[in-house]
Amino acid sequence: MASASVVALPALQACGGGGASPTPAPQPTGSTQLQLDNMNASRFLAQAAWGGNQAQIDTVRTTGTRAWLQSEMTRPQSQSMKDWLIAKGYNDATVSSNVNGEGGWVNAMWAKLFAGGDAVRQRAVLAWSEIFVVSALGLPISWRNFALANHWENLEKHAFGNFRNLLEAVTLSSAMGTYLNMKGNQKTDPVTGRAPDENYAREVMQLFTIGLYQLNADGSLKLDAAGKPIETYDNNDIQGLARVFTGWNTAPGQDPQGVLATAAYRHGLPMTLNANLHSPEEKRFPGVTIAAGTDGTTSLKIALDTLFNHPNTAPFVCRQLIQRLVTSNPSAAYVGRVASVFANNGQGVRGDLQAVWLAMLLDSEATQTPTAASAGKLREPVVRLVQWGRTFQATSSDGLWSLGHTEADTSLGQMPLLAPSVFNFFRPGYVPPNTALSSQKLVAPELQIATEPTVTGYINYMAGTVNNARNVRADYANELALASTPAALVASLSLLLAAGAVSDANQALIVQAIASMPDGTDAARSNRVYAAVVLVMASADYLIQR
């Protein structure tokens, strides 16, 4: 690490390393200011949010990580995606693309990611959107913009609330109800043989809560006497749980404001139950049998409570959150510490996500820069793009943030809310075949979308973006002031973008290239900055977040 001085962080280590205590001793006020150096503050910002500029780094250093994170998690939510869509006119029913097309959600999402005032919450929402996956590819409905907006808003609202509420909000949302087919799902018809749809029952267990195999509290696999993993459920359990998710459909109602078309308005409401279409049979799945004749609302509560309280849920969810924000291969002990806080926040509350976030990001395994070659995670392409925009305080000239699509493999190969399936763009257990990673039994989820087309597509996309050639434009005032002193420019970019991780050798390489470029005019200085940003963001020292 280039000239990174690791400052001792006694208070933080006490927070994270102890494990058992979810409510660490309060930090002594006044002593936090010097706990973090610039690089550690930048590193923390990259985990908790999208990195940061010098002012944000200074704020974290002054405030201290815990207090800063607590403050950010309680910061009011930014303008809702629904209100943004309305403000930009995407509720206009005379425009067919609003009703039946893409109209609006793409721009609304970029506006949120680049400019939402609640950066930490938006980063959490992106992570949740990759666990509770809804994709516009699977929403063949009118006014899908407002269904996606409601999904985003649910994730925002509950990102730092309680997991049980998050699970219920997502389950009953119009977007998820459409995507995984719970909406309109009906009880068995003994005459035709029609059976309840099993899709939500299957994926809510496999992907959102308990997973396929029984886990220990630290996320490691439980094994049977023969040393084999133990499956958490079988297809009979799926059919039992599928009965729970019957009878729900689009809520009735009209927009009291008269602003939204009927279908658009109803996408913002949780689904409601038609008791006549709810399965009256017994519903049996792991851990519970719901008696025949139990009504739909009660059955849903029992089912979601059961999944929420399943011993797998804490390690299953926490491990994925750690992978999204901190590192691809967390130790079992780290997963166990965070999962224990999920299980009990110290005050007897299960599923407290603020406590989970604090435990995850203040743990010593997150706060200490690792030395092992195997450590870290590949930054997601979308996170790199948004980090660029937020670091340089990008604005949209017309306020529409019309970056368009980025999922093509000749672009970034990724686009939020547009995964190919509910299995997201990449799987938490993805192992790149035939690599040093696979021989060490390490996973690398984000490498699943790193292909020959996408790695070159990324460089091309960034080279066509950092020069402010798109609708989203950076403010490089600070960088332009350093353009004539390449060493200072590159050191600054390394700090802001890579938390100082660009090696001395690679910094020297970039400095030499920049120094060879013309200077003396605004255009020349701009080119120096653009090239330096691309070069830093192309380096493996940046791409691998450690």
Partner: protein, 462 residues
Amino acid sequence: MQLNRRQFSLGGAGLLTSLGLMAEASAQSASDYKALVCIFLYGANDHYNTLIPYDVDTHAQYFNIRKGTAVSGTAYEGIALARSWLADTTLSTPLSGGRQMAVNPAMPEIKTLFESGRAAWLLNVGSLVAPTTRTQYDNKSVPLPPKLFSHNDQQAYWQSSAQTEGAQTGWGGRAADLMLSGNGKANLTCVSVNGNALFLSGQTALAGQLSTSGATTVNALRSNSLFGSSSAAAALRTLMTHTPPTLLGAEYTQINRRALDAYDTLVGAIGTSASAAMNGWFATSASNTLSAQLKVVARLIEARAVLGMRRQVFLVGMGGFDLHDNLPSQHPGLLQKLSQASKEFDDAMQGLGMSNQVTSFTASDFGRTLASNGDGSDHGWGSHHLVMGGAVKGKAFYGTAPEIGLTHSQQVGSGRLLPSTSIEQLGAELARWMGVSTSDMPLVLPNSRNFDLYKLGLMTSA
């Protein structure tokens, strides 16, 4: 050739058998070339509405289970296709017992390929560890594939043969391991035009990746100018290709190097755009991802001599098949794309004179239930798949036709088919056609020893 050294270091006696076969083949004419193309239908294709019972009795059984309210503007009642809509796409080859089948009305090109002897259907094929009866399934007296009915795991099982998510190698890649040495560009032995694909990863073989644009690279490197600076472009190349100390970074730079290395080779071989003939064959490629992907495969096959290739394995794919809902409105469009792209690819292979040397086959996560969810179907197990090309003994059905119903012994509930043919039985015939020796087959398909192999007789020559 570093790859070959690595390959030999892995070698066992069996490995050398296939290599010996390759050496023998290399003495043959330069036109010796074979390619296998896997067309993966992600999300689990509804096979019951792809290949449909047409004789009066079994159609009625199918229709009564899937029927419902007529869906206006479509051929569907509930999720069933009325018999009258199938008259134009019936297949002339009968099944035993007087049974007859039709393909979905959205697939007239598949009917044409079938009737011209260039396509065959393999019935009720799927993941198995060993031959399994319903009684054995119920009693769990035979090992079953883990995580049945789970998309990602069964995709992995199809592609790896015998492993679920986290598997490291696929059977296409393992077959390619045995053939790398015969190729001028070992890194193009396995090519995916559909992202990362387990199917193409071998012990040695790596899956090369192409986009539907063909060869792509970093524009700044091609023009040797990053914001006007050749020095900055040179630095960019160094940063992208220099191996860093981190394992993740080392793997990422490895992908960068593969991309940059492949570009010059590819541009030299397939140019920067498709020929007029290719554009003519793949008429739907602008709006059909499968057509666009197969077009890239065809361009590579066309360039086989320039690249010195003799054995290649390809993967293309499309998603959207997980139709728990909206089956009547969405399934025909997907099948139409598959059907048109298959015909276009066949036309291209005939046009290139490569028809007998290229075999394609469909695969998918699993089949689906016969029972309806209302306007879709649920996760199943066995399915029907296409095998296509001039070397296929077409206009025929292979495997065992399952009964139609919700209670018979070839299903495990709701009409989820218990496969009567395994992936290994399909894979072994395709791999043997590619040149894998029977003694090497366990290297390619480890569970193949559990099955009676080479009895389908899909291919005209081994």
